[in-house]
Structures are given as C-alpha cells and as structure tokens.
C-alpha cells in the first residue's frame, strides 16, 4: 500500500467567493505506518480526509493510491467518522456485516468475519443490540470493526474519539493502538488532540489554518509498550508542550 498526496489544493466556491481551504499538501504513507494530522478548526484536516477517501475532488494536485489516481470512494480506503455513522436499524453485528454484504461476499464468509471482528473490538455480547442501545465508545468500536471487516488497506480515522468522554477516549486510544499493532494496517488519523496524535502515530504533521497547510512534521519515538506511562514521561511532555506552542502561535487559540 502506498498513498501519495502530491501538491493538493482545495478551494470551495467560485470566482470572488472562492475560499481556499488547503494549500499544497504533500503526504506519503506506506503499509504499516500510522500518520496523524493535527490542527485546530479551519485547518482543513477533515477536507484532506475526504479527498483521500474520494468523497471530494482536489482543485489541483493529485492523490494516488498504489499508483492509481483516486477518482472516488472505494473499499480499500476505509473510513471511521466522528459520529452518527452506524445504521440505526441494524444491530451491531449487522452493521459490521454491512460493508461485506455490499461487496457481495459469501454468507459463510460474512458470518465468520463478523464474528471475528466483533471479537476483535470485544463486543461479542452486544452483537444483537441496536446502536441506540450501545454507549458512545461501543458505537465507535462497532464503526471500527465495520471498517476493518471490509478489508481496507488504509484506515482513515476522522476524529474517531472526538465525541467521547475523556476517560473513554483514553481507553479507546489504547484499544486503537493495540489494534493497529496487531493488524499492521496503514492508518491516517485526524485529530485536534495533540496528545492523542503523539500517542498513536509514528509521525505527526501539524497543520496551520486558513488555508490549511503542513507547517511542521515530527517523527515520534517508537517505544509504546505502555501508553499510560508514556503520557506522563518527561520527554513526551516536553515535546507535547513544544508542539502545543507551535499550534498556539498558529491561531492564537489555547490548545492543550
């Protein structure tokens, strides 16, 4: 898997009303890598995600996936939205099976993979529950299982834990990190939470707002044996403060 974003610009609107949201974005992402984009609102981070998913088209520049120009959405680029993306009329298990059904896989395969991915996200006991009967964290785990079951080569995570409580968010971060280690998937995470990006990703790009552009890229140490420990280690906190200063200087807003 190789994702290549080359000199991508995006504007909305026409003529004098045109508003540029992305300015010359370049990204590279290979199999097994975990990349995070961090920026405040207005940095166009969700737009980048939508362009890579194929839900929108770049105004200029190109996005290639395994050498092929991205022209629309496809199952090889799975996406987890911030919220409201489970089908409310389907049970947890049916939601997980949904993508595989769209792909026309065999019944036996769907049943087997649904059971497997429900186990991966630890929701076997909730298989028959409707989304409204699940907590926010459980719902996002179903959404992740559904994306994984469709066998993407790249997982796009658009602020997947943004709507969750802090404590649940921390356990979900642990969960996601372990999942990524186990599956060896390529992942691209969008977040405004600097700590989240630094805990999970191997590389973090900082975005400046209006128009969105990458202003700083940092490679992160690879020792993540204990995320809870990492959160409070001096080196980690120092780097976090350094990056937070960068973010603050970009739009004057307070970023933790």
């Amino acid at each position: 898997m190789h994702l290549q974003v080359s000199a991508v610009c995006k504007s909305f609107g026409y003529g004098s009303n045109a508003k540029q949201v992305l300015d010359t974005i370049n990204l590279d992402l290979h199999s097994g890598q975990f990349l995070a984009l961090v920026g405040s609102s207005g940095s166009g981070k969700s737009t980048i995600m939508r362009l890579i998913a194929g839900l929108d088209r770049p105004s200029s520049g190109e996005i290639r996936f395994d050498g092929q120009l991205v022209r629309g959405p496809g199952a090889e680029r799975g996406m987890v939205f911030q919220k409201y993306s489970l089908y409310p009329w389907l049970t947890a298990a049916q939601n997980v099976a949904f993508g595989m059904e769209l792909q026309g896989r065999s019944r036996a395969e769907i049943r087997e993979r649904t059971a497997y991915f429900l186990e991966v996200v630890d929701l076997v006991d909730s298989a028959r529950l409707l989304p409204r009967e699940l907590s926010g964290g459980m719902q996002q785990r179903v959404a992740i299982a559904r994306a994984l079951a469709a066998e993407p080569k790249l997982l796009l995570l658009d602020e997947p834990f943004g709507a969750l409580d802090l404590q649940i968010r921390e356990s979900m971060q642990e969960f996601l990190y372990q999942l990524w280690q186990r599956t060896g998937l390529a992942a691209l995470l969008i977040t405004h939470d600097l700590e989240e990006a630094m805990l999970l990703a191997q590389q973090v790009h900082i975005l400046a707002p209006r128009p969105g552009r990458i202003v700083r890229s940092i490679a992160l140490p690879s020792d993540r044996s204990n995320l809870a420990h990492l959160r409070v280690s001096p080196a980690f906190l120092e780097l976090r403060e350094d990056l937070a200063r960068t973010l603050r200087s970009l739009d004057g807003a307070l970023v933790s």
């Binding site: 959405p73 939205f81 009329w89 949904f98 469709a150």
Partner: protein, 266 residues
C-alpha cells in the same frame, strides 16, 4: 404504608393512575359526546329530522347491514381508495427518492409539483368525467391526483434529511448507486414514509366520498347523497360514522405496521 385514608393526597392515587392510562380519557370524551347527543334528542330540544337519536341511527345501521347495502357500499369505497392510493404510493416512492437524491430531477420537477399540489383535487372532477366518463377510473384517478403530489414531496423531503455520514459510510465500504438507495436511504426513510402514507390516506378518504357524491352507483358517499334526497338524516349519520370508523382502522393499521417494521425508530 398505612391505609389510604391516612393522607388526603394518597387517597386519590388509584383514581389518578386510572385516569393516566391514555385510553381512559379518550373513551371519556367519546362517551360524553354520546351522552349529549342522547340528551339533546331525548329531551326533544332538537328536531329529530335534523338530529336523529342514537337509537334511530343504530336501527338505520342495522337495517343497512341486514340488507347488505352497508357492506356493499363500504367495500366499493374501500376498493377505490385502495387502488387509487396504492397507485399513488407506489409511484410516489421511487419518484420521491429520485427527487430527494438527485438535484437535477428535483429542480426539474419540484416547481411543477408544488404548483399542481395547490390545485384542489375535486376541481379535476369535471375534467375527469369528460375524459373518462362515470366509471371507476375517474374516481381512482381523483384519489391518485389528490395524494400523489403530497406523497412524493413528503418522501422527497425525508430523503433530503438522510444524514450524509450514512451514505458516505456506505460509499467508503465499497457501496455504489442502487444498493445505497435500497440499503441505506430506503430503510432510513421507512418510518417517515409510513407516516406520510398514514397522513395522506385521510385525504384519499375525503376524495372518494367527494367523487361518490358527484357520481356513483354505490359507495358510502353515494349512500349519503341518496339519503339527503329523501331527508334520511339517520342514514347520513350511519354513513358518516362508518366512514370515520373505517378511516380510523386504516390509520391504526399504518401505526401498527410502522411499529412492527421500524422498531428501531421508536
């Protein structure tokens, strides 16, 4: 807890609980009206030609039932409503989905439909009679005209409010075109569609009676207009009550279907 006389507030709890059940007050309202109806006629305050007593209406109903007229009329009216409304509902569903999901189709048809929607369906009766005579077709078409545009526009609105995340999720899972309409859009709007049908079914009932008042050999509306000619207000009351009861039954049927089919939305 001590006996219910212990405190003035606790004494009324059983009665309050009884009244809190939704059907109790509804029944009370109905009984009250029946009572006033009975009193008004029994006291002789109102001329029995204008307001026949409940008893007389009941007898008129019985005689219509025994002669088989009541069933024949009801079946004729119900049949017209069902054929006309089935046509309307069946065509409005794909049309509404097409207009709600495709901007070009929507822009093309919405102004036209919004215009026709405001033309009162009964105003089409003279044209329908000129085109199709006095048989079943013009009556069925009247119901179609009177409900199709409302059905379509309401379904279109439901489609427009499908959250984009649900559609986009399906796209990123490898979904395309028609399966997205049938597996995402259709299930999401199902509760609103049932409700749309339930609401517009009431107009279908209005229209079938109007059509039968103008021209028909049988039907509940026809019976009412015949009764008027002979000043049989008791028969008119029978017709009105039966129309109400059949309509209510259909309404409850739709609610039941919706509860069964869309348990997730409750």
């Amino acid at each position: 807890m001590r006996s219910s006389e212990a405190h003035p507030l606790t004494r009324w709890i059983p009665l309050r609980r009884f009244l809190a059940q939704s059907w109790v007050l509804g029944l009370l309202g109905l009984v009250t009206v029946l009572l006033f109806w009975f009193l008004a006629t029994a006291s002789g305050a109102v001329d029995s030609l204008f307001l026949p007593s409940p008893h007389v209406v009941w007898q008129a109903g019985q005689s219509q039932w025994q002669s088989g007229l009541l069933v024949k009329d009801a079946v004729a009216s119900i049949q017209r409503v069902f054929i006309g409304f089935a046509l309307s509902a069946g065509l409005a569903l794909p049309m509404g989905i097409a207009m709600g999901s495709n901007l070009t189709i929507c822009r093309l048809l919405e102004p036209l439909m919004a215009l026709i929607r405001y033309m009162p369906a009964p105003a089409f009766i003279p044209l329908l009679i000129i085109y199709f005579g006095l048989e079943e077709l013009p009556k069925v078409l009247l119901i179609f005209i009177g409900t199709f545009f409302f059905n379509t526009l309401m379904i279109m609105d439901a489609v427009k409010f499908v959250p984009s995340e649900l559609v986009e999720t399906a796209l990123t899972l490898g979904g395309r075109g028609l399966p997205i309409l049938t597996r995402v859009v259709a299930p999401y709007i199902a509760p609103q569609v049932f409700d749309t049908y339930r609401i517009n079914m009431a107009s279908a009932w209005n229209l079938v009676i109007v059509a039968e008042l103008v021209a028909a050999n049988e039907g509940l509306g026809k019976r009412i207009s015949l009764a008027q000619r002979f000043l049989r207000t008791d028969d008119i009351f029978v017709g009105l009550i039966v129309i109400g009861l059949v309509g209510l039954t259909i309404d409850l049927g739709f609610r039941f279907l919706m509860r069964k089919a869309c348990a997730w939305a409750n």
